[in-house]
């Protein structure tokens, strides 16, 4: 694979930008108009954030275009694993393991 895609194109930046704006507007509209309550809105907000995270990785940081071996992707996956371990682990311990209060 040649390196012409390594730093993206105007098209990929514009696509990423438009997707990011749409994915930011969706949760704002849902919040302002009170369309969803409770768990529903939580899921929509988190899903929009997650999608935007992927959009930015692909269109802005060009993770998709990386050549093999994909060291960037591998270290990112390790990073995400540690993040989930810390965040989910903390929530789980603090919410469900309250003994002797």
């Amino acid at each position: 694979m040649s390196n012409q895609t390594a730093h993206g194109s105007l098209k990929s930046y514009v696509t990423g930008f438009i997707c990011s704006i749409v994915l930011t507007i969706i949760p704002i509209v849902v919040l302002v108009n009170n369309w969803l309550e409770g768990l529903g809105s939580t899921i929509v907000f988190l899903a929009a954030a997650l999608l935007q995270f992927i959009v930015q990785l692909v269109f802005f940081m060009h993770l998709k275009d990386e050549e093999k071996p994909r060291y960037n992707l591998m270290s990112l996956l390790l990073g995400i694993f540690i993040v989930l371990l810390i965040v989910v682990g903390s929530i789980w311990i603090m919410m469900y393991n309250m003994v002797a209060i």
Partner: protein, 203 residues
Amino acid sequence: MAQTHSNAEHHGHGHEHPDQEEMRTFAFWIYLMTDVILFATLFATYIVLQGNTDGGPGPKDIFQMNGIYASTFILLTSSFTSGLALLAMHKGNRLALMNWLWVTIFLGASFLFLEVNEFMHMVHEGATISTSAFLTAFYTLVGTHGLHVALGLGWMIILIIQIAKHGITPVTKRKVNIVSLFWHFLDIVWIFVFTIVYLLGVK
């Protein structure tokens, strides 16, 4: 598109063996992963402590969402313009590269201005960093992100001076590459601050 393609190939250099600048870019990526872990601990702390308001104000009482919406779109646009700076650099257009970096700096500075304003407003309302565990976690998380943005601004200004002096060389190329990676990374962190702290806080 075709234009970008041919230009990119023209500027491309051998990929048979990784060169020094590419290794340095990857090293910066590794640094970003450690920064991810730093933010993960701050997010975990915030999520665990956000309910502990100690009778003080909660998220719904102090967050002013209109300013937050504005700063979210400003930072998102600055992430896009730092990408445009990168494109200008790969076309060999030094003036456009410097101008897009200035636009990015201007947007980043506007973001920081709004954030400092928000903090001052909150402190004025009596919601300081020592008011409750919720606010300590809030100021630490959002403030650490703001500090990163401030460092990024100073970094970009120094980089513009280097580009003005030395032009687009393999070294300044790599530096623009990593500063733009840093900037996209800060935008990604902000997406989660915006969602977890603000959107889920006021809903």
